[in-house]
Amino acid sequence: MKQFAELFLNLDRTNKTNAKIDLLKNYFSSAPEQDKIWALALFTGRRPSFKVKTAQMQQWACNEANIPYWLFRESYNSVGDLGETISLVLLPHENTPADKSLSDWFDYLNVLPSLSDAEKELKVIDAWKQLSPHEIFVFNKLLMGSFRIGVSQTLVVRAIAEAANMEAGGIAHRLMGNWTPFNTSFQELIYSEDVNDQASRPYPFYLAYAIEKDIAALGDVNDWMVEWKWDGIRSQIILRNDELFIWTRGEELATDKFPELHVLKKLLPNGTVLDGEIVSFMDNKPMPFNILQTRIGRKNITTKILQEAPVAFIAYDLLETAGSDTRQLSQQQRREKLEQLFNATEPTQVFNLSPLLAFDDWSTIKTLHLQSRANAAEGFMIKNRQGTYQAGRKKGDWWKWKINPLSVDAVLVYAQKGHGRRTELFTDYTFAVWDQDKKLIPFAKAYSGLTDKEIALVDRFIKQHVIEKFGPVRTVKPELVFEIGFEGISKSTRHKSGIAVRFPRILRWRQDKTAADADTLENLKAILDIYNVV
């Protein structure tokens, strides 16, 4: 545990990619074999649930530290991390720390789900008494909350590839799918002969970078294919051994979430892997994302949901056909095979081919780009006809060209301190626009989009202009104006403003504007009317 806690803290402390890779490489070269698979599970979002609620953990910590709950919450507001707060309020103990390994601790925790709450409490508190404060913090991370420390899947893949002296693409593939430390070992996962021995295993998604230069700089139009960038859930549909698997880009096995697509099990040939987008789909055309959003996160997909937000799959790539990996073929060849497969498949509403746009010059494409929203698309995907299907986010062969976000100017009205790296700064903002009675109505929260320098200035303003406190939230004198961008907008009965925006973010600080110059709720509703044609 000591070694893993140290790795965690060191990773947390640096933001240099190379330093992180070195730390990970080092760990995966030197850690005990049975610890490696657990570390890997944690870094790839496979932490098992131990059926411990964060509310319980807080209560136990309060009991142990002999402090009231409100004081614990005040401490949490200042620290910004629950696991760390617990480790800091617990009084130092005199025990010599037990030297259990990471996998020992998982063995220790694995019985928790079967225990009563009182037994869980004893077990967790006993663990705290065997650990140093730093280890308690990391231990708490094993138990609850998200395990985020700025280590991306790509980074882990690179580190393991370097440590194992293997190719990164292969490692990425091996880390996909629904393995757990209970059903595999590090050795088996990384070194076993047959990568596809798990029928459900998807391929690593190829992700595009946003194109920043003029698309004309891409050169000869004949080298490129262009299609709409669909606004849905990026997914792979896998049919192997007469079984259908649907994987989302978030590496979630979501087969059950999309019963409409199960018909593909009968229609697709075995040994097929398609890459594409699941979109909401009505009257034979794709719909904006906010319709799909209503069914994301639902545990039970009811008939009502299926009627109100039906989906379809739009295929744009073929990664496996007749059981063989086609990723090394060119984009052009894969497209031809995809079209053959599509044409040979019995037509169904739920299986569509992403059409290629016809164009002779880049200016045609630029004109068409303006019609993206009308086509329920977020812009274009531009793909090199000669390119292979790569693993992860790579520059060169795939580019995305997104439409500009919708935007309004809004006033900063509430602020809260950030978490993690930004614990001491007010970085979580709520923005408002004016209603007809000249009152400010909050409509969006946004976190990012400012430079560190701007954050420092805004933080200073907030600290000097607090009007009210509600727990960690500060009401701020409505003075600062920001341009807030968002990707979509829909009606909402949950928000006071009556609207909900998707992916709100700060585009820029409008220091040239006063609060009175900010937009109105009317303006927002006008945008809603234009873009929410359902």
């Binding site: 803290l9 947390d12 402390r13 933001n15 530290a65 402090i67 009231p68 409100w70 004081l71 614990f72 005040e74 401490s75 200042s78 620290v79 910004g80 991390d81 760390e84 707060t85 800091l88 309020v89 009084l91 130092p92 913090f137 978490h419 993690g420 790296r421 930004r422 614990t423 001491e424 700064l425 200073r460 600290k463 000097q464 607090v466």
Partner: protein
């Protein structure tokens, strides 16, 4: 019986109306008692100052050599318009004092900043019994628990040894008044090549001239040969973090001594390589102990987590109130980084 309180919070100072004396005023006044020489407590412009003798050298350096300054010893009583004042050790930095104010048997104590641990340079904290205690609360949350300083000094030494082995300069940041003297007095650094940034150097020199037993430091100057810094420990104020002044020391490891280093976020955001949790303020336990020991029936909480600590004391049967408007900005514990970098406390 006088019905107005002995001390009042004006927003700019702690004020004694009967004596017409301000404690640590943030604006210019006629008569100011200064608890210690950190710049958020000692502001320029007042007509007459009074402070402990050991505060004098730095007060003059910072507020002006020609200020009208009267000094007293700890425990020495002086009376203004029937009000009896005396200063008592606060253990915060050299010369730091709690101000005891007594009128007709009614005793108030304004703590200024304090810590309970003896740092072997400042006179150690003295418990002063009182009816009303005005306490700071910089680290008034139960997450702030200090380890014994010996442990921290050991950590610093280990870090320095490791840096030498890796061919790195040890760049140690901390407040030039207080923290640096504490480090110099407690760590055996005689045999280390020791360098100092101007802020640290001039503060140290001033104290040495005033007769305090501190080692001589070498001032880092522009034209210095980089080779001189091999194996060196360099002492600098926190403000150098992120500045070009650091460039000539590369490769170096950045260590930072502060109570704020207790929290991971604070450490990460400053991009320091090593945080040392060393503070000249009382930790949670220390604040509670100090308040309890005064026997005060009423406590006012200033500076820091005022509302939290006041609420906690009330729940523990000590009547307490938060003083909201002292010294400007709410919750702004971060150093407003001054050019010289040595101008603020924690």
């Amino acid at each position: 019986m006088n019905h107005q309180p002995l001390l009042r919070f004006t927003g700019n100072s702690i004020y004694c109306p009967t004596a017409d004396v301000h404690i640590d005023p943030s604006v210019a006044v006629d008569r100011a008692i200064i608890t210690h020489a950190h710049s958020d407590h000692a502001r320029p412009g007042s007509k007459n100052y009074l402070a402990h003798r050991d505060s004098a050298p730095i007060l003059r350096q910072r507020l002006g050599e020609d200020i009208a300054l009267q000094t007293v010893e700890y425990g020495e009583r002086f009376t203004i318009n029937g009000v009896v004042f005396s200063l008592h050790p606060a253990g915060h930095i050299i010369g730091s004092a709690q101000v005891r104010v007594e009128e007709q048997g009614n005793v108030w104590v304004a703590s200024g900043d304090y810590k309970l641990e003896d740092d072997h340079f400042a006179a150690p904290f003295e418990t002063v019994k009182c009816n009303v205690f005005i306490t700071e609360s910089t680290f008034g949350l139960p997450i702030y628990n200090w380890q014994p300083q010996e442990k921290i000094f050991n950590d610093i030494m280990q870090w320095h040894t490791k840096n030498k082995a890796e061919g790195k300069v040890s760049m140690l940041l901390g407040y030039s008044l207080g923290k640096m003297q504490r480090i110099l007095k407690n760590m055996q650094l005689e045999n280390e090549p020791l360098f100092a940034h101007g802020a640290v150097y001039y503060c140290n020199e001033r104290l040495r001239q005033a007769g305090f037993d501190l080692p001589a430091l070498t001032l880092v100057t522009k034209d210095m040969d980089k080779k001189l810094f091999k194996n060196a420990l360099v002492l600098a104020p926190p403000s150098v973090d992120g500045s070009t002044w650091l460039n000539k020391f590369a490769p170096f490891s950045l260590g930072y001594c502060s109570g704020w280093m207790q929290v991971r976020g604070a450490k990460n955001r400053r991009a320091v390589d090593q945080g040392f949790v060393l503070s000249d303020h009382a930790d949670w336990k220390g604040l509670n102990e100090a308040v309890k020991n005064t026997g005060a029936e009423k406590v006012f909480v200033t500076h820091g987590f005022t509302s939290v600590f006041a609420k906690w004391l009330n729940e523990n049967n000590i009547e307490a109130a938060e003083v909201k408007t002292m010294y400007g900005e709410e919750e702004d514990h971060e150093t407003p980084i001054a050019a010289e970098g040595n101008l603020t406390t924690e």
